[in-house]
């Protein structure tokens, strides 16, 4: 049963990823990307991480995909879609991608770890969210603050990049 669910979800993930990079229309690419993210949230639930799965749906399928779709809606449809799909040197890109995957697959098959405590100590009082909050605010408080500052800097950078130039406005 677990195998079947894993097979269906991973198939959805991989087909969504392939559709993202192969579709000619950028809107369809965004839709395939959302399907990839939702299937990956299912895989996260199978790995005993329901909090991260909900975070995946809210942040990736909710925020990032909608941000990309909004920017695409602001643009001219012909500018967005009438260009050529691939680079002229796409053959070498595909070769490099296949080589990267073979490298990672060989590493995965040679990888051995001790998995005796698989699935243990991921919950506190029966809740994964409590455990994540406990560890996040006890051991990882300083990186949490740094991440908050990184988000603030990204916000300011986006505003500065898209505002109108002084010379152009004059």
């Amino acid at each position: 049963m677990t195998q079947i669910v894993f097979f269906i979800l991973s198939l959805g993930t991989i087909i969504g990823a392939l559709g993202t990079i192969l579709c000619k229309n950028a809107y369809y690419s965004a839709m395939w990307m959302i399907s990839t993210f939702v299937s990956m949230a299912g895989l996260f639930v199978m790995l005993n991480a329901p909090f991260v799965a909900m975070l995946q749906i809210i942040v990736y399928a909710g925020a990032i995909a909608i941000l990309i779709l909004f920017v695409m809606m602001l643009m001219d449809r012909r500018v967005l879609n009438n260009k050529e799909r691939f680079n002229p040197q796409y053959f070498w890109g595909i070769i490099l991608g296949v080589g990267l995957f073979s490298d990672l697959a060989v590493l995965a098959f040679k990888f051995r770890i001790n998995i005796t405590n698989a699935g243990k100590s991921l919950t506190l009082h029966g809740s994964n969210t409590k455990m994540v909050g406990d560890v996040l605010f006890k051991h990882y408080l300083f990186p949490f603050e740094i991440i908050a500052i990184i988000l603030l800097i990204a916000l300011i950078g986006a505003i500065v990049l898209t505002k109108k130039d002084e010379e152009e406005a004059r």
Binding site: T13, I147, L151
Partner: protein
């Protein structure tokens, strides 16, 4: 099951890298970067499960925050280049070459 999860995340990473190398549309390249980050994050969650340590999920939260800020900056660059050049083909973005 560990090997299957690792293969799926490696496939996601490789597909994302291939998409970033072969496509010309800047927005699709940003989506490929998201796929790469998600492949790495899925490996973090897998290791968190099989090692019995919740720190991998915390790392995924940090990766998601960095991915969100990276997308915001990338889309700001896209909008800026669209206003300047009227195109989002990356082969038109070669003003630093001259």
């Amino acid at each position: 099951m560990l090997i299957e999860y690792m293969i799926v995340s490696a496939l996601l990473f490789a597909i994302g890298a291939t998409g970033a190398m072969i496509r010309r549309n800047f927005i699709v390249i940003l989506m490929s970067l998201e796929l790469m980050l998600n492949g790495a994050g899925m490996l973090l969650i897998t290791m968190s499960y099989y090692l019995g340590n919740v720190s991998g999920q915390i790392m995924f939260i940090f990766v998601a925050a960095v991915a969100a800020s990276e997308t915001a900056i990338g889309l700001a660059i896209v909008v800026m280049m669209y206003k300047r050049k009227g195109s989002i083909d990356i082969n038109d973005f070669s003003m630093l070459k001259k």
